[in-house]
């Protein structure tokens, strides 16, 4: 019994030694990673804990345990607020339109780029079409206002050239969604082709040769070889985009909006920004954030489940 005890002690000691030894061996790795892990904890994990604010009447300056808990009060107020439904409709409206255009057009554009024969022209198209991606939304909004302005904006000049009346594009609420989506398309269309182009170049050239020998023309080769070749990438990206339908951000809406169209620009994030931070209703703002995250997760899991049912694979 005693011997066993000593043996155990010895083993424990050895374990401890190797553990210490290991720590010593890896001390540089710890020094190189732990400070930054701490930063991730502070800037990413503490805000997740901040979701609890959604269930409090949060008051600035009070410590956590002195905040008063209100249960689902903020959620109930939110669901009774007409503005919430406007924000929900705006978010979904713009993101669905964005998905429809922002997803299909880059695919078509990528295929057309791939079909270009002149190498230098192909490179020029790629270089230039990626460019707007690197320009901020502040600048893009300024450019959009300039292009659509009624005094000497090129679009209105074109309209007048063909005998039309100039249109006050930025002062028409019913046009706002379209303007946001088209501006986004202008900015990101080229950049979004990259992934599809990479997938296209991975297709075995022998398939094209075979199709050619079988007498397939340009369109039929695109339809029967290129599209099936990139269908996997398309589906994965589609599922991920559906998961991101709620998270379209607010940058473009914020930058492009003005007082006249504000009603159509208010997406969920802007709603949270205006009421949460602007009006200092922090608990209410956090509740909007929580509702948004929950909706996003539901969308993502639904899309993923549908995908799994179809293909037997999971995106996540």
């Amino acid at each position: 019994m005693k011997a066993l005890n000593i043996l155990c002690r010895k083993k424990e000691y050895q374990n401890k030694r190797t553990w210490l030894q290991k720590l010593k061996d890896q001390k540089y790795l710890y020094v190189m990673s732990l400070p930054f892990v701490l930063m991730v904890f502070v800037f990413s994990y503490i805000p997740i804990w901040g979701w609890s604010i959604a269930f409090q009447d949060y008051k600035l300056g009070l410590p956590f345990w002195e905040q008063s808990w209100v249960g689902f009060k903020h959620f109930i107020t939110m669901f009774q607020d007409d503005k919430f439904y406007t924000a929900l409709a705006n978010t979904f409206g713009m993101s669905m339109m964005g998905l429809l255009l922002g997803f299909t057009i880059p695919i078509i554009f990528a295929i057309l780029i791939n079909e270009l024969r002149h190498k230098l022209f192909k490179q020029t198209v790629q270089t230039i079409s990626y460019l707007p991606h690197f320009v901020s939304w502040v600048v893009v909004a300024g450019i959009v206002y300039k292009m659509l302005s009624t005094d000497s904006g090129p679009i209105n000049q074109l309209i007048q050239l063909f005998g039309g009346e100039p249109v006050q594009f930025m002062a028409k609420p019913e046009l706002f969604w379209g303007i946001v989506v088209l501006s986004d398309l202008w900015k990101e269309m080229g950049w979004n082709t990259i992934i599809f182009l990479a997938a296209v170049t991975a297709i075995d050239p022998a398939l094209y040769e075979a199709a050619k020998i079988d007498g397939a023309g340009r369109f039929r080769r695109i339809w029967h070889v290129t599209l099936p070749g990139i269908s996997n990438v398309i589906i994965v990206l589609l599922v991920l985009s559906i998961g991101n339908l709620m998270s379209i951000g607010f940058e473009k809406q914020f930058q492009l909006q003005n007082n006249v169209v504000a009603e159509k620009a208010m997406v969920l994030d802007l709603y949270a920004l205006v009421f949460g931070i602007g009006n200092r209703k922090f608990g209410f703002g956090a509740a909007i954030g929580v509702a948004k995250s929950v909706l996003s997760l539901i969308l993502l899991f639904t899309a993923n489940a549908l995908f799994k049912k179809q293909t037997g694979k999971s995106v996540m």
Binding site: F36, M39, Y45, I46, G142, I143, K146, N258
Partner: protein, 302 residues
């Protein structure tokens, strides 16, 4: 006999396809470039002349007055400096931080690795959202502080995983022999790993730098009440948004400018837009390849 006929038919169809395709592409190029060139031309055109309209891609009455007005009267030069500083420090610190963590993750013997990987991955999918982050920044006294531009975006899980994937594909023997020679992990990281990772580091440095240069939201929400910390994007935003509603800052500029020259808010806006995008336009053509490489790398592995 039949074959050549089919072939001719095929090529004429192909030729039409090529022509149409080239026309579409040319149109896309025009739609992409024209707005930039138009703004550029307006920024170099005399204000009084621009009002008449009709400027396309060349200035009609060339002038530097719009730029001179901005440099003389505005807080634009200071905002430009802040933008340069945040881009420089933001990029260097973030790059160092991300590559150090990536190095630790890529060491197979690192005990902490199994926990660290999911710990970072979770941040890719779950985030606290606007309000909790705002309150956190407020609580840790980063409001109206230059560090708010640097610290919160510094450690980025996505970039860490990109660098780690690149490191994992390097031959392990390189580091084992260095270890035999008694080099410690930091020396291996600094002397061997960093030089080998140049391509991926360049790509990520560019991504971070562009994000730092282009962002306006952190200035707007955290430093809005401290003009000394204002950035170029934020100044541009204020001028654009004010002028869209009534006459705001841009009119102030213009009024100040009246003393020596007549400059309209519109021309001022164009000139600031050009100042804001020039750094990107200058580096972009040379570095485009890196961006694309990084994009596909991230897409395939992420």
């Amino acid at each position: 006999m039949m074959e050549p006929v089919i072939k001719i038919k095929g090529t004429s169809g192909e030729r039409i396809f090529d022509i149409v395709n080239n026309i579409i592409m040319t149109l896309i190029l025009i739609i992409t470039l024209y707005p930039f060139l138009n703004v550029l031309a307006l920024s170099f055109n005399s204000s009084m002349d621009s009002v008449k309209g009709g400027i396309t891609i060349f200035p009609r009455v060339f002038t530097l007055d719009n730029y001179i007005t901005i440099i003389k009267f505005g807080n634009i030069p200071r905002a430009f400096m802040i933008s340069v500083l945040r881009t420089f420090f933001g990029t260097t610190t973030s790059l160092i931080a991300c590559s150090m963590v990536a190095y630790a993750l890529s060491r197979k013997n690192f005990s902490f690795r199994k926990i660290l990987s999911p710990f970072l991955a979770i941040t890719l999918y779950v985030s606290g959202g606007l309000i909790p982050v705002f309150l956190l920044i407020r609580d840790i006294k980063l409001m109206n502080n230059f560090l708010v531009y640097i610290l919160p975006p510094m450690v980025n899980a996505f970039y860490i995983f990109m660098i780690r994937t690149y490191m994992d594909n390097l031959p392990e023997e390189l580091f084992e022999s260095a270890k035999m020679d008694g080099a410690n992990d930091f020396a291996i990281f600094y002397k061997i790993m960093m030089p080998l990772c140049k391509p991926v580091l360049a790509t990520i440095a560019l991504f971070i730098a562009v994000a730092q240069w282009n962002t306006w939201f952190d200035t707007y929400i955290y430093c809005g009440s401290k003009p000394e910390l204002s950035t170029l994007q934020y100044e541009l935003m204020k001028i654009l948004q004010n002028a869209q509603l009534t006459a705001g800052d841009a009119a102030v500029y213009a009024n100040q400018a009246m003393a020596i020259q007549t400059v309209t808010p519109d021309s001022i806006k164009m000139a600031i837009t050009i100042i804001t995008i020039t750094p990107i336009l200058v580096v972009y053509p040379f570095l485009q390849g890196y961006f694309v490489e990084g994009m596909t790398l991230g897409a395939v592995k992420g």
